[in-house]
């Protein structure tokens, strides 16, 4: 804890440009973080993950000098999409472009917008508290009312060139105005950096009758913690696809809250794990309003000694009649040593609702494998076909073909050495 405190103190000392109120907020959040501490095995919703690396490691925040380290990084544009780039924790305004009707503001501006950084003492997630106290590279992206932005906005958070232990606490706030629609791709990746931690908070607010297509691609290789918070207002539609690959330790919290009637949230996830990688997802869908729909499909593919956790809860509050909700978690084990812990839960307090949930974990079907082989397709190719097929159910839900193709290729490459183990 002590070294996180010293990081905070040096941030507060150096940040002479930061308003005093921000410093107060940081301290307030930090004291909540120290009250909570890092999760232990005794914490119910955290018990299957070992968070001790965060206690043991001495991560530091990147400085402005660290920007130089990333100059060699070849930033690939995804098609000719609008682009927002954060390089080693620093927003690169000169490399970013967004359409008119979209405003980007940095942390300092954001702070003045009090509702966004209003930190509650009731915060129970220590990683959110730590993110608030140490947040760097914060951005607020506002999409005006009545905007139809078809070309995706491609946000990249890039970590590159570090030799020591580095951490970032990115804060992303996306607000979609009423009757607007947008495609947003949020992508974390890295190069030439082995020991780092990104602790992300992304808050999305969907205005009345808005449509938000959100694809989150997580390719950080070391430690990744994320907190995705979606707030849906009346008639809003969220289509979210969350792709995870490569992290040694990955904890993702997702929370969806319905603040108005007749809103729909479709949330799909695909996680690919191998070696000793570990991924822990907790999702809470809070039906606080009637006539809303939520549909979740989360898939894990686990190889080697990888371990996965899926912990999902759908809450339907007393007055939330006519809720329609489904939750499904399907997992594929490619190795005898891989493990999956799945726990979908329903908490229904209303009586006129339609809710389903289910979970399955298994290996590739021997029957299907034999069928493919009996057609002359060799075992490893047949296995790959089947795993790709398993993944495709998620990836085909992505509206943007180029993003879907990018991820299809990722899956294909990931499967490269399948069958050797």
């Amino acid at each position: 804890m002590q070294h996180y405190r010293s990081e905070l103190e040096s941030l507060q000392a150096n940040g002479s440009a930061e308003p005093k109120e921000l410093s107060v907020l940081r301290s307030k959040a930090f004291s909540r973080f120290t009250e909570l501490g890092f999760p232990t095995k005794k914490w119910e919703d955290w018990q299957f993950t070992d968070f001790s690396p965060f206690k043991k490691s001495h991560f530091r925040l990147p400085t402005l000098e660290d920007l130089q380290l990333a100059l060699e990084y070849n930033i690939l544009p995804l098609n000719d999409y609008y682009s927002i780039i954060i390089l080693n924790g620093h927003f690169q305004e000169n490399l970013s472009n967004v359409p008119s009707g979209v405003t980007i503001r940095t942390l300092l501006d954001v702070f003045m917008d009090d509702e966004l950084t209003d930190f509650l003492n009731a915060e129970e997630n220590p990683f959110v508290a730590l993110n608030t106290s140490l947040m760097n590279s914060g951005l607020a992206i506002d999409i005006a009312d009545d905007m139809q932005i078809d070309t995706p906005i491609y946000y990249q958070f890039i970590t590159s060139g570090f030799e020591d232990q580095i951490m970032n606490h990115p804060r992303l706030l996306i607000r979609l105005g009423k009757n607007s629609s947008a495609n947003f791709i949020e992508h974390y990746h890295s190069k030439n950096t082995t020991n780092y931690w990104n602790n992300c908070v992304t808050i999305s607010e969907l205005g009345n009758n808005s449509v938000f297509n959100h694809t989150r691609i997580q390719e950080d290789t070391c430690y990744h913690v994320s907190n995705l918070d979606y707030h849906l207002h009346k008639d809003a539609v969220l289509n979210s696809t969350i792709y995870n690959q490569g992290a040694e330790l990955n904890r993702g919290d997702i929370r969806v809250s319905f603040h108005g009637k007749n809103a729909t949230a479709n949330i799909n996830g695909l996680s690919l794990l191998k070696y000793n990688q570990h991924m822990d997802t907790r999702i809470i869908i809070d039906h606080m309003q009637p006539h809303c729909n939520s549909h979740q499909l989360f898939k894990y593919i686990l190889d080697d000694k990888a371990t996965g956790v899926f912990n999902g809860r759908v809450i339907v509050r007393e007055d939330s009649q006519r809720t329609n909700s489904s939750q499904s978690n399907k997992n594929l084990l490619l190795s005898k040593n891989a493990r999956m812990q799945s726990n979908p839960q329903l908490e229904i307090l209303a009586n006129d609702v339609r809710c389903t949930h289910g979970s399955s974990t298994g290996q590739l079907s021997e029957e299907a494998l034999y069928y493919l082989r009996s057609r002359g397709i060799e075992t490893t190719v047949a296995q790959k076909l089947m795993v790709e097929g398993f993944a495709s159910e998620i990836l085909e839900k992505i509206d943007d073909d180029i993003t879907a193709e990018y991820l299809n290729n990722k899956v294909y490459t990931w499967l490269g050495n399948l069958g050797n183990g």
Binding site: Y371, L372, R373, S374, R375, G376, M386, E388, A391
Partner: protein, 245 residues
């Protein structure tokens, strides 16, 4: 082409096939009939190389024992089975699957693989022959197909892969009369003097269309009677019980 020699097959200590000898020559069509559970499908799966059997005796394909070969090696040698229960493979595109299978064969034969365009031209011609809608190509393999569509999809694979030996395991079951005609035409299209077929069936109708060279009856793991098409009519009239000891 295919020689089965004194074959005994066990699954977990249960003897399913108890001494079968069968020789099928190029150009021939053999029908294999018999009650459910008599060992017909097991015999088919043992020929194609499914795991989980304890086998004694030998199976030769073009003079070479195939018992140590994997299912894919046997397929590339030219053995094919139309499954009694075609397997659903979620998420795997039917056309992609067919192309992978055909290209595996072409590659094994040292021929150049087909690209997507050439394959599309080929498969569109083949799919007409089995009376299937082209939309089935873009769906997942057998996923949501009706019983009849699954069987057509098997024959589509037969016509696309052009094996030299085909086992048809109850390909006629669950088909209406029109579908049966289409399937029979597809099979007759496939037949020539260099290819052979082993058709497992319960019904006379398919055999009326296909004119088998030999008819075998299997009972309790053994071939108890062999004859020509007349045997089929006799079975149709009398059932199987007269063949019991």
């Amino acid at each position: 082409m295919l020689e089965i020699k004194n074959l005994y097959v066990r699954i977990k200590d249960k003897e399913i096939i108890k001494g079968v000898d069968l020789t099928i020559k190029a150009g021939e069509l053999h029908a294999l009939m018999g009650r459910n559970g008599s060992g017909k499908s097991t015999l088919a799966h043992v020929i194609t190389g499914k795991d989980g059997y304890e086998i004694e005796g030998d199976i030769l394909f073009n003079g070479e024992s195939i018992l140590d070969k994997t299912p894919e090696e046997r397929a590339l040698d030219g053995i094919f089975m139309s499954f009694q229960y075609p397997v659903v493979i979620p998420g795997v595109n039917n056309m992609y699957f067919l192309k992978a299978a055909l290209n595996a064969k072409l590659k094994a034969n040292g021929q150049s693989e087909l690209d997507a365009m050439d394959f599309l031209t080929l498969i569109k011609a083949k799919i007409k022959q089995v009376g299937m809608d082209e939309s089935y190509l873009s769906r997942a393999v057998n996923d949501g197909f009706s019983g009849g569509e699954k069987k057509r999809n098997e024959i589509l694979q037969l016509l696309t892969l052009e094996p030299i030996f085909a086992i048809l395991d109850e390909t006629d079951s669950g088909l209406d009369i029109d579908a049966m005609k289409v399937i029979a035409n597809g099979i007759n299209e496939y037949r020539n003097g260099e290819r052979a077929i082993l058709a497992i069936t319960h019904y006379q109708r398919l055999l009326d269309y296909m004119k088998p060279d030999m008819v075998h009856v299997m009972m309790d793991g053994q071939i108890v009677k062999t004859g020509d098409i007349e045997l089929v009519y006799e079975l149709e009239a009398k059932g199987y019980s007269w063949l019991e000891n």
